[in-house]
């Protein structure tokens, strides 16, 4: 729905039902009852993945809540919107269950109420409203007796009442929030109730798409109803803060009316000159000085927010904020304004209407990319853009498992065939009546055709619509249809005719088997971070560094409880299967791909009962999120909820990624409720608690931020560096040009860092000194020398190789290619050393040179993304800078004097990465610099993989 076309409001809000947002698993027809117990794979990119349908704030304007068709409710702290403080997941199914249409937040911020396509699997066919405790995220009440889906909500000023507007059987209901009983209801409404509001006196105003506006006295008494004066579809009603005026916007008319709140007579209409489409959102500033509105109208490709002065009676001025339809506006104290949009963007405007921040989902915008989407004949390489209209295309290759720039053009990639002799498809682009050779291809009511791709043999074609992907034969007979996870904006049939590759509104590109429409492979790429993950129907995946945090399993806990969610990274050992993903397009069948992958890697894949392996859920009950602390000893009260029979083996508490407390079970199991007393660092810190089951599966971290208000730490850290670089391998075929110099140049940066560190200790092992025994010995030193106050860096440059099972080995100087797996230094050894370091630890790895010695000159012999993801997982949280992604090669050049990666690292540490010009280079600055610099040096052929624990940043060098 992001395409900024005028959409009838009935289709936008109430017909949410027709949208299947972000479901990763194919639509399965009729609603399943009861709720699925099997885990459901979902995208989780840190923000809403579909249109934001609800936006609410507490009275203080500190806590915000957003709801979305993406089946999540998110809570945000206005002071730190970098990530939601909590993602609340209602029960869902594979279909529409769980799509949320609206949200309300109690004035004290303790309760979030939401509903939508919720509870349809319930006992009596009725719909449900959910009440969540914002502190824990738990569902504290389900009101399962709604006669229709709920479209609008409004709390009273004292939080004791909640007004709700319904569709299906339109009604206005007033709840007592103490016991959630119905205080009063009005079932005499004629049509859907898209908007409702309550003033300080408890009066309720409600809009009906039947063309009426109703005003109720407190307690929902003494209804007065009028025909809406400015249009037939009033979409939004809002009381002014003083309760004297009601602003009304319409979906079918550009009018904005101001009604007297005592008798609903028309006082005035706001200045909407020059606007030809309706205002579907309105909001008053808390002072009442300004009225804001937005809707479908555009100005130069932007969707402005209009602000009227003088309580809506003054001049209107447009502010161009976004290029998508604004779906909600929420006034905040100090006259700032929060907004949400279609597509999932959430942002804040200051009182001058300047953008303070915006949080985007990060999905690629595939609109108007009919000519941009290109695919290789075998489907293994796909080209697309993150931006609408297709600027700056990028290329994803399953072979290298990396994104690279789309320039220069690759003649082996082909776009959609949209014309062919005897196959004249017209009106396929954004109409509801596409036709083949003059014959209309029937679609559902309001279903728009959006994309077309004719098969190379010209005997069939694929039509992508807002809701489905349809394959027709040349005679117009429907061969199959597949439900879409969002609008199918662009499609290509591969040259071998085996796949329809379709780019959807949820940011995924999916490979549909042409024979039957089954989705074999899906790819999600994050536009800002360029992280990506590609997965098969059962969840076998391959991912970039950080990419395995983009999808996970949603697990229902019944109709009355908040669902659980587990990143797929929790099950990396089971589902990380690059071998399977690589083979899926060649075999056209997941089962065959697994068989071949097993044969190649020596694994035996068994069917996985995920439910039996689910890790526990950890909750930190105190201190509260954002709590201020001035003493370093803090008691953390926790709950552990087990989801399987597996006992809890250990619990860890981490501060900014480093462990500060560990509890391991002895003869008696670990208590599922308890307190851990720990010392936190004397700074603002992110605390994470995780628990491990007996079979070694870790929970998702329970996290909170603590604000340090005491005196700062007084001890300067020491720095410990182990730099290993091998160019002169004993085996001539392994010789490299610059790996030894890379190690030397890296450590040289830190020779003069006495200002930043109490002392600097460096060990370098180059060439013939870097034998397996010496490296092991040095790793022992590296693991044990730093104290808890210190910083330790391990730099390794040379050859690395994976065995068939994907296990990594670093190749010491005296070891030849044939002995690399038996005599090399295993990843386990390296990880053990890194994890043992008491202080902060960083790992720099550049071992992704050509795999020629291992028979694959085109690629690296290692898949470094797996290492980066493993080290960055909650149980390790080791910051890692790797030279490249997946099986990309690392490049070096004599004129650079280094490999591209080390050149960028050294440049950055010497000051180029000091973006804030404050004399320090921090880990975040180095991350940003190295990512950009390496890509530029190598013309996009090499992309560093960097795993940096979220929110962790500290200085590495002091420049002056």
């Amino acid at each position: 729905m992001r395409k900024t076309i005028s959409i009838p409001y009935r289709r936008l809000a109430p017909a949410i039902a027709l949208i299947v947002p972000l479901a990763l698993v194919a639509y399965q027809g009729a609603l399943a009852r009861p709720l699925p117990e099997t885990p459901i794979l979902r995208i989780e990119a840190g923000a809403h993945g579909s249109d934001v349908t609800g936006l609410a704030a507490d009275a203080g304007g500190k806590l915000l809540a957003t709801s979305s068709y993406d089946k999540t409710l998110r809570l945000w702290r206005l002071a730190d919107p970098s990530a939601p403080v909590r993602v609340i997941r209602p029960p869902i199914d594979f279909d529409r269950e769980g799509s949320l249409y609206t949200v309300a937040l109690s004035p004290d911020g303790s309760r979030a109420v939401t509903a939508g396509w919720t509870g349809s699997g319930g006992d009596s066919g009725s719909w449900s409203l959910y009440v969540f405790d914002t502190a824990s995220g738990e569902m504290v009440k389900r009101v399962a007796t709604l006669t229709g889906r709920l479209l609008s909500l409004a709390f009273s000023a004292d939080g004791k009442r909640l007004a709700a507007g319904l569709k299906d059987k339109p009604a206005v209901i007033l709840f007592d929030t103490e016991n959630w009983s119905v205080v009063s209801r009005d079932d005499e409404q004629r049509d859907d109730m898209p908007s409702i509001d309550m003033d300080k006196q408890g009066r309720v105003v409600a809009a009906s798409l039947g063309g009426t506006i109703s005003l109720y006295e407190a307690g929902l008494r003494n209804k007065r109803t009028i025909d809406s004066p400015g249009g037939k579809e009033p979409a939004i009603v809002r009381f002014s803060p003083d309760g004297a005026t009601i602003a009304v916007g319409y979906s079918d008319s550009p009018r904005v009316d101001l009604l007297a709140a005592d008798d609903l007579h028309l006082i005035a209409s706001a200045d909407t000159r020059g606007i030809d489409k309706g205002f579907i959102v309105l909001a008053w500033s808390r002072s009442g000085n300004y009225l804001y509105g937005s809707g479908y109208y555009e100005r130069g490709g932007r969707n402005p927010i209009r602000r009227w002065e003088n309580g809506g009676r003054g001049a209107g001025r447009d502010f161009s904020i976004t290029n998508t339809v604004v779906t909600r506006l929420q006034p905040l104290p100090d006259d700032s304004l929060a907004f949400t949009t279609q597509g999932g963007t959430f942002g804040l405007l200051d009182p001058m209407m300047r953008l303070v921040w915006e949080k985007k989902h990060g999905a690629a915008d595939f609109r108007d990319q009919h000519d941009t989407l290109k695919v290789s004949a075998d489907g293994g390489t796909v080209e697309f853009s993150f931006e609408r209209f297709g600027a700056a295309p990028v290329r994803f290759s399953l072979a290298t498992k990396a994104l690279s720039p789309g320039e220069p053009p690759d003649p082996k990639l082909a776009g959609a065939l949209t014309e062919a002799p005897g196959l004249k498809v017209i009106d396929w682009n954004d109409t509801e009546r596409p036709a083949l050779n003059g014959m209309t291809l029937p679609l559902k009511t309001h279903e728009s055709s959006l994309s077309l791709a004719i098969a190379p043999d010209q005997k069939s074609f694929v039509l992508g619509t807002a809701w489905r992907v349809l394959k027709y034969d040349a005679g117009g007979k429907l061969a199959w249809e597949a439900d879409a996870p969002g609008e199918a904006w662009a499609a290509v049939v591969t040259g071998n005719g085996k796949f329809a590759v379709v780019a959807f509104n949820d940011g995924t590109i999916r490979w549909l088997r042409m024979s039957d429409g089954q989705t074999l492979l899906s790819l999600f790429t994050h536009a800002e971070s360029r992280r990506w993950v590609a997965w098969t129907a059962s969840g076998y995946y391959v991912a970039s560094a950080g990419g395995d945090g983009l999808i996970g399993w949603h697990v229902n806990r019944g109709a009355d409880k908040t669902a659980d969610f587990f990143s797929i990274a929790r099950f990396r050992d089971i589902y990380y299967r690059p071998d399977v993903v690589e083979k899926i397009l060649g075999t056209l069948d997941e089962g065959q791909a697994i068989k071949r992958g097993d044969a190649e890697t020596g694994r035996t894949t068994k069917s996985t009962d995920l439910a039996a392996l689910l890790p526990p859920i950890v909750t930190i009950n105190s201190p509260a999120e954002g709590a201020a602390v001035a003493a370093s000893k803090v008691s953390f009260a926790y709950d552990i909820r087990r989801l399987s029979r597996e006992p809890i083996k250990s619990v860890q508490l981490r501060a900014d990624g480093r462990p500060i407390a560990v509890v391991e079970a002895g003869a008696t199991p670990i208590a599922e409720q308890g307190t851990i007393e720990a010392y936190i660092p004397r700074r603002d810190a992110t605390i994470e608690m995780i628990a491990e089951t007996a079979s070694g599966i870790w929970s998702e971290p329970a996290a909170l931020k603590l604000h340090w208000t005491g005196p700062a730490e007084e001890i300067k850290p020491s720095l410990f560096i182990l730099a290993v670089g091998i160019s002169q391998y004993r085996a001539p075929e392994l010789k490299l040009a610059l790996a030894d110099k890379d190690a030397s140049d890296f450590k040289n940066v830190f020779d003069q860092q006495q200002k930043a560190y109490r002392k600097v200790e460096i060990v370098t092992l180059e060439n013939e000194k870097a034998t397996a025994a010496e490296i092991r010995r040095a790793l022992e030193w590296f693991a044990s020398a730093p104290t808890s106050h210190d910083v330790a860096m391990l730099f390794m440059a040379g050859h690395g190789v994976d065995d068939q099972g994907g296990r990594y080995f670093f190749v010491p100087q005296e070891v030849g290619p044939k002995e690399a797996l038996s005599q090399g230094l295993s990843y386990q050894d390296i990880r053990r050393a890194l994890a043992s370091v008491a202080g902060r630890v960083l790992f720099f790895i550049d071992t992704c040179h050509s795999g020629a010695a291992w028979g694959d000159p085109g690629k690296s012999a290692t898949d470094v993304s797996r290492i980066v993801n493993d080290l960055n997982s909650p149980e390790h949280r080791i910051m890692t800078f790797a030279s490249s992604t997946g099986r990309q090669r690392s490049y070096e050049k004599a004129e650079w004097g280094n490999g591209a990666f080390t050149k960028a690292v050294v440049e950055g540490l010497k000051g180029e990465a000091d973006f804030f010009k404050n004399g320090y280079v921090t880990t975040a600055e180095l991350d940003a610099y190295v990512s950009d610099r390496v890509s530029k040096l190598t013309l996009g052929q090499q992309t560093p993989a960097i795993g940096r624990p979220f929110g962790v940043d500290y200085p590495l060098v002091q420049l002056r």
Binding site: S632, A661, E664, A667, P711, E714, L765, T787
Partner: protein, 222 residues
């Protein structure tokens, strides 16, 4: 910097960024105390409270035995109940027992300095002098624990303000000032003199009263 010759030479090596295969690590056979016994149940071998112990030492705790070990380098405090505990350089290896490990506040670098065999830390001038010395170690408890090689006289002098000195006979070569109800001042700078050895101590601004973890309030005279 108040370092002995041996430590100073290590520091030069360190800053010079040279690698010597043996310099940074203890020599073979050299005893290196890595942990302090903070608490121990009666009858666990010959272990006593405030014993400094080397890596490799183990303790059989049986079913009900308990030991708390503070690690000098990692600042881990391991509370172990039951089973067998083996002292490793940075933490305990526990077999069959329950473990609660927490990172406590301690100045591991200062502890390493004091714990170095042959090191004699030398404190700075008193308050009458011009500049206050940098502390050798930061302590996170108001009541330090002093461990010495043998009995002798310990003098504690305040350096940053004028105050009467404290004097103790270390009859047992270990003393916990908490047991003598003595608490130093938070943020105070003190000189601990014992025979010819002097260590300058800063009591941390947030130092805890009473029974703070031992590794965080340890003063060692070798």
């Amino acid at each position: 910097m108040r370092r002995s010759t041996s430590f100073a030479s290590l520091a030069v090596f360190v800053l010079g960024a040279a690698w010597c295969n043996s310099a940074a690590m203890p020599r073979e056979g050299e005893r290196q105390d890595v942990a302090i016994v903070e608490e121990v149940s009666p009858g666990i071998g010959d272990l006593r409270r405030f014993d400094l112990i080397a890596a490799g030492r183990s303790a059989e705790l049986g079913q009900d035995g308990r030991i708390v070990l503070g690690y000098l380098k990692s600042c881990w405090q391991d509370s172990i109940a039951g089973g067998r505990a083996v002292v490793e350089p940075l933490k305990s290896l526990v077999e069959g027992g329950a473990l609660t490990r927490r990172r406590v506040e301690c100045d591991a670098a200062g502890l390493a300095l004091m714990n170095s065999a042959g090191l004699v830390a030398r404190g700075g001038n008193s308050v009458a002098g011009a500049a206050l010395p940098e502390p050798d170690v930061n302590l996170y408890g108001l009541s330090p624990i002093i461990i010495s090689a043998q009995a002798g006289l310990l003098v504690i002098e305040r350096l940053d303000i004028a105050a009467p000195p404290l004097r103790f006979e270390l009859g047992e070569n270990r003393v916990d000032l908490r047991e003598k109800d003595i608490a130093l001042d938070a943020n105070g700078l003190y000189r601990f003199s014992y025979g010819a050895s002097v260590i300058v101590v800063r009591i941390d601004r947030l130092a805890e009263p009473g029974r703070a973890p031992a590794v965080g309030r340890l003063v060692i005279f070798r």
